[in-house]
Amino acid sequence: MTRETEVVTSVASGAWSCPLPLRDHERIVTGHGGGGRLSQELIEHLFRPAFGGDVDDPSHDAAVLSLPTGGGRLAFSTDSYVVTPVIFPGGSIGDLAVNGTVNDIAMTGAVPLVLSTAFVLEEGLELATLGRIAEDMGRAAIAAEVQLVTGDTKVVEARDRGGGLTITTAGFGVVPEGVELGPRCVRPGDQVLLSGPIGQHGMAIMSLREGLEFETELRTDSAPLTGLVQTMLATAPGGGVRALRDATRGGFAAVLCELAEAGDAGIEYVERDVPVPGDVAAACGFLGLDPTHVANEGKLVAVVAPEVADEVLAAMRSHPHGREAVRVGEVVEDHRGIVVARTGIGARRVVDLPLGEQLPRIC
């Protein structure tokens, strides 16, 4: 077994008390794709055993591979993008497909270089829409300094009303020498930084959902984070930056939970220090959603050594994608594997992964 496997197994014994994995569902339900517990269990109990023991830490969004010739290390990642509607305020599925995979690679400390892209198009999709999405991808690739080098297109029969599409991108980047990031590097006393206000992407999408249309100025925060990450690494060379995660599906809270579990570390953060834009807070309050569980597409969480925290934070604020970066919490000795929040009125509560997708409540 690899070192990564051991780490995960030791967490799993505490995290998983059921001897009969996946017994609750005979078929895939929506929650299996929600980025919460059910997704985690699917990876842990179905894919991982079937794929064999050499899979890199599956809680990572990208794998870091040593080249056989000793010629450095590559970060490799892939992701599929499904979103309704495909065009939304501030961007489209095309922006997500580029920035999402770029960011997964960037969180290993790598500089992404190339992407492949595969389209599964439904009958009925308007060519004008596809054209707009392709242009967005081209623009996003230039902004992220990656090349779209190969691809594939398939067409499937329309489901529901048709006209949708799925985009899968994969890509790799080069990990600079000496860069070693990951939950295993996290130590008590480390500081938790957040690159900006949360919840914008998820609520921008939610505002357009059928039957939920509400008026808002919210736009997606989709952005490539390579530049921000490299700026941070340059400020604190030599391991000062311990771990990075982009807070996409499952939101800020899910990222902290994954870091805590995978690093067997206790994490504490202060709720009031987590910036939530006013319109995100209002929409979440109205729908009964927790903004810390809402998706972002251009925000990262960093765990950094205490002695470099101020400098890294200042460096983040000097970068366009980290201007509103804040310190939100720290890694503690207690409650290993568990995230605790200080509430607005000064009490403490446990923060957990959502089970599946967040559901708007009844009243």
Partner: protein
Amino acid sequence: MKYLDEFNDPELARQQFEDIERIVTRPWALMEVCGGQTHSIVRNGIDQLLPEQVRLIHGPGCPVCVTPLETIDKALAIAARDDTIFCSFGDMLRVPGSHHDLFQIRSNGGDVRVVYSPLDAVRIAADNPDKEVVFFGIGFETTAPANAMTVVEAERRGLTNFSMLVSHVLVPPAIAAIASSPDTQVNAYLAAGHVNVVMGTAEYEPLVERFRVPIVVTGFEPLDVLEGIRRALLQLEEGRAEVENAYPRAVQAGGNPAAQAVLADVFEVCDRPWRGIGVIPASGWRLSPRYGRFDAERRFEVQDLHVEESPSCRSGEVLQGLIKPNECEQFGTTCTPRKPLGATMVSSEGACAAYYQYRRLDVPEKVRT
């Protein structure tokens, strides 16, 4: 953010806690009726910061939790039909019936849709004339006006393919039932503010007189809840038992007369079983004869239901405030949000789910996942 930040202010909260500390001279137990309040209390840790003498008992006010298993099994049977589009609030999808939940119906090919506004279900019916469209109309008085408007609107549009599976429950009879119980430990009630937005406060006066208990209409943000608690304690310490409105920015004594008129037209009071508790007389609403043809139970003869409640689930005692969720042997072991034995572990307003989500450090190791 106006009306949100102010009611979460740490300095004002500290003052409230100090006031409460000063008021209290002996042990009291308060019940917050509404699951939304339970959630706010546990999420923000309000109970952790109250004086030891003040105990909060979590009440039955979670509509998802008290919807009878039989009704859920009916919903599942209707939702599984090929000719049917079943519309529900999102919360209900994960609630376990005897054998499965609505998510599983959907993954088996059933057309189950989450609606955010009940009127969306009517629009879906208009858009799909060849399908039966059924809306799962559940909730307390809070959701009742919007649910009632679906049948008014369906009638106005002349839709014959729309119906509603109704499981509506009422707060005052539930308070009366708990207050009548010889086992009750509750000294005062925090009423569910959003119910009073619709219904006003008049129907609580007879309860105060009959049971000599303070009832304080209370909101949901941390400072709202604290103000409700403070006023209830003040009444108890001064020996008063009155209906008091601690949520005046939303609640008027007369409630919302337009909504009440719709409710009187669309619904009639009936006896209603509450999951885990039993039948409470005159504690629910069903469609009035005028709108009876929109009743899904009448339209779909659902038979051969074998209702099986988990024998080890103690949610009834939780809902009546007799035990705390973490005092149940199943809590966090055989019963978790991933594999719930009862609805209180599922709903975002369920007391068991709130404890599981936010309180795992306070309970034994076994509960941590």
